[in-house]
Symmetry: C2
Subunit: 372 residues, 2 copies
């Protein structure tokens, strides 16, 4: 392996991380695990202190003249462009990346910034690690947050080869899967696959606010799944939705059109064509859902499921999975399916279709209740 290649795929540091919330502190932790020198900076001294305490990096030494290889701006989306601009001027030989979840607004603010030269923008590249948690703050940080997750790089017209390579090195050092898109492609993509689901989940969940408890007692896994992300942080999502408003609203026009058609159909369920309209809505949902890739980028529905009934006591699921491991069959996915009131559960297991029958036979012969 030649040194040039090493340099291209690994960071040498130092790396300055500005903003030590969940993502900034997680980046610091991940890089420290690779022994990269990480310097932390946050407008909140207490957030910075927590990040230092958990080992995400160090403070600037008194009198130290920092010359970072890379500055990672992990500030709230609202102030990202301003912080990037300042970093480009403060560290004239550093590459500067940001990790905000919307990219076009940051870039256009930077391109219109009178304090910046075109040469400065050559050192900037917008990026977006597709990772997060329902919790926030440096206490929730973890170095493995980006492992196996997509990390999108959005080079602009000015971005230099060095800047692109450095951003790539950051993502690779943190175990992420790199992909590259224009800022517009990125923002259109996340509007659809991230911002739209958030909005739909919130719109649905907000309908549950004033429900009678007896109705909610009938809730099953379907409702739980569709509303899980409705628990997200309002402060963060205000900034994300605001910054990608134009892209998101275009998609919502389509949703509104479909919703209006559905409402019209439900107002006259006996009318000619009503059943066809309803069938079309569900079928179109089938078609869209079938396009979502599965785990490891596998085509959707390429795994076979089976269900095993277990008692709800310690060790039962472990025992089951131990026996599955003994046959040498890899678990592709697993879900626990429970409902209110009783202490029995179903474990749904997905495996490669070619191994399914073998596993069923094995579990059957070992006394498990397998529901095919």
């Amino acid at each position: 392996m030649n040194p040039a290649h090493l340099q291209a795929t690994h960071l040498s540091g130092p790396v300055l991380v500005i903003g030590t919330g969940l993502l900034g502190a997680s980046i610091g932790l991940g890089l420290r695990a690779r022994s990269v020198d990480v310097v932390l900076s946050d407008p909140s001294p207490s957030a910075q202190a927590v990040a230092q305490d958990i080992g995400a990096g160090r403070a600037l030494d008194p009198g130290e003249e920092l010359s970072p290889q890379l500055v990672v701006v992990a500030s709230p989306p609202d102030v990202t462009a301003r912080v990037v601009s300042q970093a480009l001027r403060d560290y004239p030989s550093a590459v500067v990346v940001d990790i905000a979840s919307v990219k076009a607004s940051v870039l256009s603010e930077l391109q219109q910034d009178p304090a910046l030269e075109p040469a400065d923008l050559a050192r900037y590249i917008g990026t977006h690690p597709m990772a997060g948690r329902e919790k926030s703050g440096p206490v929730a940080a973890r170095g493995e947050l980006f492992t196996s997750m997509p990390w999108v790089l959005c080079p602009n017209e000015q971005t230099s080869a060095v800047a692109l390579k450095t951003a790539q090195a950051l993502a690779i050092d943190l175990g992420a899967v790199v992909s590259k898109m224009s800022v517009d492609e990125h923002d259109a993509s996340v509007a659809l696959i991230s911002h739209l689901p958030q909005v739909m989940s919130s719109l649905l969940a907000s309908r549950l606010q004033d429900t009678e408890p007896h109705a909610l007692s009938l809730a099953g896994q379907g409702l739980r799944d569709v509303t899980r992300i409705a628990a997200s942080d309002p402060a963060l999502w205000v900034q994300i939705l605001g910054a990608n408003a134009a892209k998101l609203v275009k998609i919502l026009y389509g949703v509104r059109e479909d919703l209006n058609r559905l409402i019209g159909t439900l107002e006259h369920p006996e009318a000619t064509g009503a059943r066809l309209d309803l069938a079309q809505l569900i079928s179109e949902g089938n078609a869209g859902q079938a396009r979502i890739p599965g785990k490891h980028g596998a085509p959707p529905q390429s795994f076979a499921w089976l269900t095993v009934l277990v008692d709800d006591r310690p060790g039962q699921i472990a025992q089951l999975l131990t026996e599955i491991g003994e046959v040498g069959i890899n678990l592709e996915d697993l879900r626990l399916d429970h409902s209110s009131g009783q202490d029995v559960g179903m474990v749904e297991i997905s495996v490669l279709p070619s191994r399914r029958q073998e596993l069923i036979d094995y579990l059957d012969s070992h006394g498990w209740k397998v529901l095919q």
Copy 2:
């Protein structure tokens, strides 16, 4: 225990199951496991033959005069009332239940049926087992389908005590958790907790139909969760949505109002109050989501989560769960968190909050990578 009590909570049979799809055949299988005499009937001879072959019950013997204790109508929603009416007349001493997922439309059709006497309706009770699978047909049937799931009984004004007790015995014999509501309460409840999520999931998923694959490659668990039920069967859902149209459309008016407000806000994201509007949408979603009960009817968010990093090879998760079982800690919930491209996964585990730290210490000391 006195015999009267026994009689009240268990079926003696014979039970006639009309309609041998997924639910009818599953009811047959579950009752056969309790040695109840089950007779099957389906307009499709091949569906009935499959149901018999898997052991869901027997055909009527030639020349046999059947006098069932209970008739379970498991026909498609569309024809349910007609089949119930016929069964009430064919078996004048039997209790007749149906299991359609919408209740008011069936009852009102029966009440207006000139072929029925009020005395007939005393033997009828509408019910709804909240269970299902993404697959359909008798091949997908399993006797444990109703285990731990809610089974709603909707007695009408005429329903006799015997009919109510018999329906209760059916649900209990199949391991379900019985609850009781009026038909109107039931239909309003399922409109909100079942039909609305289906519609929102389908509306969202249908937007993915014409997307570029590169956008979908960024899809994470959030999108997968929100769209899972969009894979549901159009033929069945046309009937369900049509039958509960009036209740569902009222809720959709509220969704449309919220959606219109959101679109207005996103069209002018810089306007005064825009940020407040967005924050309110997400906060209201938070509030609604927090009201959904968890597993075993526990209050939501009463479990503590931790995350463990595992290699994606056979036996890893089993090994982990075995060690958790060794500490005697019960797993409350579990999810595998993966994304495209790499062979490392995260196992998210929920346990009672009081056991969380203990488990973290234990796993840490056994060499697992725990992400708190």
